[in-house]
């Protein structure tokens, strides 16, 4: 009973926060609501027996996305008024009503349809449990990500790389000086705090990476935690944007994609199927490469810069 109550509270909170995100008076407030929404979602994942997702949601969904949204909002604020505004026609009032009706209909339809489904693992999921021992890890999510559906993971690294390449391409078109510099405030004790937080994030990342085989965790969560450390370094001004990416950064960006593909191709030419993993060591090797690439890409995306360097 108490569990139902918790579920209800989480559900109401999630819906309420979603509404607040949409209707929030200011964009800033909407972003904050969205971040809290992400945190509450992490709790929902925990309730739904999906701790891997809870970690990922907290680190990526709420953490990194939230940081990205906030920093962009602040940059937009700083840029606003520098160029003449283009007149924008107001949206017709009926549009809002129409979209509300449409959304309500969608909610009803989606609710009705999804309630008619069995809500239990599907055929492919059962197979994943059965064949997990062949992979050599005991966390089924890691098994799916790095063995059964490794191809998805690999393509997803492509998506991440494309996002960075795209961000770099459009950022390089910005007029010189358009981006405000990192306006960080030197608060007392921040230095001391950082000297604690960053090693801890590294530690947690490594832990999550190795735990991923048998317990919740893995490259994505670890990468996000490591990225969070990097974001803090940027925020505090320890790292600052560089004009160009260094060669190390470039290698790091493509490391996950390259290592993953190369192992696959090597196996292919040894007569195995493409993306067959030669052993658990290969899974960890790939995961390490993925983690580094994810962390680096996310930090660079946050900094909206081609590269980073130590602040003098």
């Amino acid at each position: 009973m108490i569990e139902i109550a918790i579920d209800l509270i989480i559900a109401m909170g999630v819906v309420g926060l979603a509404l607040q995100t949409i209707l929030g008076a200011s964009v800033f407030r909407a972003i904050l609501m969205f971040i809290v929404f992400g945190l509450l979602m992490a709790m929902a994942w925990a309730r739904l027996h999906a701790p891997d997702l809870a970690l990922a949601e907290a680190a990526i969904g709420a953490g990194i996305t939230g940081a990205l949204l906030l920093v962009t909002w602040r940059r937009l604020q700083a840029m606003d008024g520098r160029t003449p505004r283009v007149g924008i026609a107001a949206r017709a009032p009926w549009l809002s009503i129409a979209s509300g009706i449409f959304a309500a209909a969608l909610i009803v339809a989606l609710g009705w349809v999804s309630l008619s489904l069995p809500a239990e693992p599907a055929a492919a999921g059962e197979l994943a449990w059965q064949r997990l021992p062949e992979v050599g890890v005991s966390n089924p999510v890691t098994g799916v990500l790095l063995a059964f559906r490794a191809y998805d993971t690999l393509m997803e690294m492509g998506v991440l790389l494309a996002a960075w390449l795209g961000a770099r391409a459009v950022a390089s078109e910005l007029r010189p000086g358009a981006l405000p510099g990192p306006a960080h405030a030197e608060v007392p004790l921040v230095g001391a705090l950082l000297s604690l937080v960053v090693p801890i994030s590294l530690l947690v990342a490594v832990y999550l990476l190795q735990a991923g085989g048998s317990a919740p965790g893995g490259a994505f969560q670890g990468g996000a935690v490591l990225a969070a450390g990097g974001v803090l370094l940027c925020l505090s001004g320890r790292l600052e944007a560089a004009e160009r990416s260094s060669i190390t950064e470039r290698i790091g960006l493509v490391l996950g994609l390259a290592v993953f593909s190369c192992i696959g191709l090597v196996m292919l030419f040894m007569g195995e199927p493409m993306l067959a993993m030669p052993g658990v060591w290969a899974i960890y090797l790939v995961e390490t490469a993925l983690l580094l690439s994810i962390a680096l890409t996310l930090v660079l995306l946050f900094a909206a810069a081609p590269g980073l360097r130590r602040a003098p």
Partner: protein, 102 residues
């Protein structure tokens, strides 16, 4: 149907609808991106709940899909935000004119 599943399925449906409404009626691109992220979250919630998360360890396949989905969502959001900065830079506004280019 288990009550927990019921609750979360309805939650997912509601958040998805809220996201759609937000996307359609918002003016600022930033808000539209928030709405898109809400919709994504709703789909993830639906996948996991339908995968049996309410009763025990859920189907690992949807879990992996959601993890992939979360990374894709953050990638897309990050690029969209970079593009938004460029939009502000090029046009002086972070809104899109609904009548332009249609």
């Amino acid at each position: 149907m288990n009550t927990t599943a019921l609750i979360y399925l309805l939650t997912a449906a509601a958040v998805f609808g809220i996201g759609v409404h937000g996307l359609l009626q918002a003016r600022q691109v930033l808000r539209q991106l928030l709405a898109i992220n809400l919709m994504g979250g709703a789909i993830f919630l639906l996948l996991i709940t339908l995968g049996g998360g309410a009763v025990g360890p859920p189907d690992p396949v949807p879990q992996a899909m959601v993890l992939t989905g979360i990374v894709i969502a953050v990638s897309a959001t990050a690029f969209a935000l970079a593009l938004l900065l460029r939009l502000q830079d090029a046009t002086g506004t972070s809104e899109l004119d609904p009548n332009d280019g249609a």
